[in-house]
Subunit: 419 residues, 2 copies
């Protein structure tokens, strides 16, 4: 309690410096921002030993699972990957200053909608220290200042990476306050960031469901995020059977732990008797387990029964929920009831059914005859992504450089007065 | 207190019905939505007597100022204007289904970013009953369901207008729950709407600063709004003197009560001695009062002194704050310190100075040689607006039909699996 009373929040000062830096970044040249990224990449490489030493300190205090330690661990290869990532972002097109629309009114006024940085981004992430470098790189490139708050377990690693980013900014003569980091591991910094309405313009959380849900619940600042990716692949009556088999296996099993992995298979009752047994066999041969509804179990005896909760579960593992449905509307009803508005796919040769499906979900990404695992900024051609958003405003789907911008209207006249 | 304990919130039920309606609206045809608007216009005209009677009940209970009563009062002409407004929206292009971007990746996947409705809009407004019809019209057109909450003083008027909108939906065979209204004047409905995260997708407040600031402060739902329009006109050293005189008079005096009215004149020290006296004389002749800084008062003796607070005041009246500045950066510093990120204008013949100014504010709208009074959806060519936004995400400036949409990605393949 005493400690609580004595809490001197760091965020107002950090955010105010970030605001000033953001204004300078917004006016900076593309070349200066790209130079900062390249200098930061060099600094990461030059400071490899310091970064590894900092990481070793974090690991020494880490007492959790092997998987957690793996995410926390930095290696020379992982540091090099961070550096290459920054250099890759440096060669992407500048998202700032794009003319998004222009038109002229009958009175001669010319209107232009111009992309500009959002301002100050708050990045809240967990154990993987590379997220700090990746996020800072995308923010610098898009002219945004960023306040980083990594997991308390990765504090020393995050600080060492932050120092390299600042060295890059300094070398490019951009404000060092463009990338800042919470000063210590106190969890109250997170609460302060979430409450920093007017100081931080946008919060992006990267991490597990519980972190993201906390941010969504508590933030008084706009958030771009997804809490989970409960993605569906729907095999329609008019699906090409071979395509359906290949897509379901890829969508479920290519990587089971990513948010774009399919968690539930919906299959039309008309084709399930012929197709579901071979799909199940394909997947079982690759080690997949199943949770199936009664209609699916009537077709493939021996499948474990699914509970209603199973259809609302993001497995992130080699497990597939299966339901037999009666056409597009039934599939859509299942998706609306159980889905997370992330990514859904239909497999069909029927263009009309596909159109009805694509237009019928609330989801950020809908696919026709493609694997849900393609929901990724790189696969979209964005070059890099800072996260994936399933909300309804500003940006949805992969959040890349363009999605880190907002816009202003420029109205250019010759002295027009409004009548 | 007992009453508080017994509160049975209406919002969850309203919002759930609105969600279902929104899904149906999102799939409805352009023709059906336009038909609903035209039928609603006819219903407003046919129900003129009922609407006026309802309005008379509201006026009978109204005990406030003449200005308030004027805003609350409906007349046959005002009802006709609402009906024409709906018909005007019916002929605008459909914002839903626009292809915002499309591209193909080397693997053959085709990507399309498609405009879709946001979902469920919450509209919180004050005394002017026509806002309900205007907002409902824009929401129906853009495929959004809307929950209306007007001022408690206009409850009967709002209900009568709502009934006409529902009649329009019914005649077009669209869900009646697409437009709903808070069931009574209880203020707790506002709090419930602001807390309806996940049920209402977007809140738009229309009204005075205190209403908008309350919504901004308390909402757990994204908000598009502006609390005030503290707009600046900056007369640069290279301004055409006649243009500057004309623009300042128009920007300040055309209508003093709108959010795009200029509240502060910034003028460069190099031209102030010659230009400020005539600008002041122009404005004084039209009844404008002044609050001037020391440098302005040294040039035009007798001007009343401005306090710092005056430069942060949205007068919405025939009052102008005046400050003398030293070039573009000084003007920008004043705007960043005191402005509301709404609309700012520079008057200059120097393209380089203009570019620096246009790129240097945080504001939603920046103008060059034009009157700030042009910040209006109609003047932008949007056909109609539901409000003006000064936040940084999703939409800024006038909020028209396009700004009431979000997007989804459609990814169209031929069986592509992710390697």
């Amino acid at each position: 309690m005493d400690q609580q009373d004595q809490w001197v929040p760091a965020m107002p000062g950090l955010a105010a410096r970030a605001r000033d830096a953001a204004r300078a970044l917004a006016r900076s040249t593309t070349d200066a921002r790209n130079a900062a990224l390249r200098h930061a990449a060099r600094a990461l490489r030059e400071r490899q030993d310091e970064i590894l030493a900092a990481n070793a300190r974090d690991l020494a205090h880490s007492t959790t699972t092997a998987a957690f330690r793996d995410r926390l661990t930095l290696t020379p290869a992982r540091i090099e990957a961070m550096a290459v990532g920054l250099e890759d972002v440096a060669v992407l097109p500048d998202p700032v200053g794009r003319v998004l629309a222009e038109w002229t009114r009958p009175n001669g006024l010319r209107f232009r909608r111009i992309a500009m940085p959002v301002g100050v981004i708050g990045m809240i992430y967990e154990s993987r220290p590379n997220v700090g470098a990746d996020a800072a790189g995308l923010c610098i490139k898009s002219g945004n200042a960023v306040v980083l708050r990594g997991g308390s377990e990765s504090l020393h690693s995050a600080r060492a990476i932050h120092a390299a980013m600042v060295a890059g900014l300094r070398a490019a003569e951009l404000p060092e306050a463009s990338v800042q980091i919470a000063p210590d591991a106190d969890r109250r910094h997170v609460a302060d960031m979430l409450a920093a309405s007017g100081q931080i313009d946008l919060i992006i959380p990267r991490g597990g469901k519980s972190l993201v849900e906390r941010v969504q619940r508590e933030a008084r600042v706009p958030v771009l995020s997804h809490a989970e990716g409960l993605c569906h692949t729907y095999v329609h009556a008019a699906a090409d059977p071979d395509m359906a088999r290949g897509l379901v296996v890829n969508a479920k099993m290519r990587r089971t732990g990513i948010c774009g992995a399919t968690e539930t298979l919906l299959i039309d009752a008309t084709v399930a008797p012929s197709l579901l047994p071979v799909i199940v066999a394909d997947l079982a041969a690759r080690g997949c387990a199943f949770r199936a509804d009664a209609r699916a179990r009537a077709i493939v005896p021996g499948l474990p029964a699914a509970s209603v909760a199973d259809f609302a579960t993001e497995w992130l593992d080699a497990v597939l929920s299966i339901a037999v449905v009666d056409g597009v509307d039934d599939a859509l009803a299942h998706i609306v009831r159980h889905g997370s508005a992330h990514t859904e796919a239909i497999v069909t040769d029927d263009a009309e059914a596909a159109a009805r499906f694509l237009n019928g979900t609330d989801s950020a990404v809908v696919m026709w005859n493609a694997s849900t695992q393609f929901c990724d900024g790189g696969e979209f051609g964005f070059g890099a992504e800072i996260g994936i958003a399933t909300g309804r405003l500003h940006a949805r789907g992969p959040v890349g450089l363009e999605q880190l911008t907002t816009y202003r209207y420029e109205v250019i006249g010759t002295g027009q007065q409004r009548p």
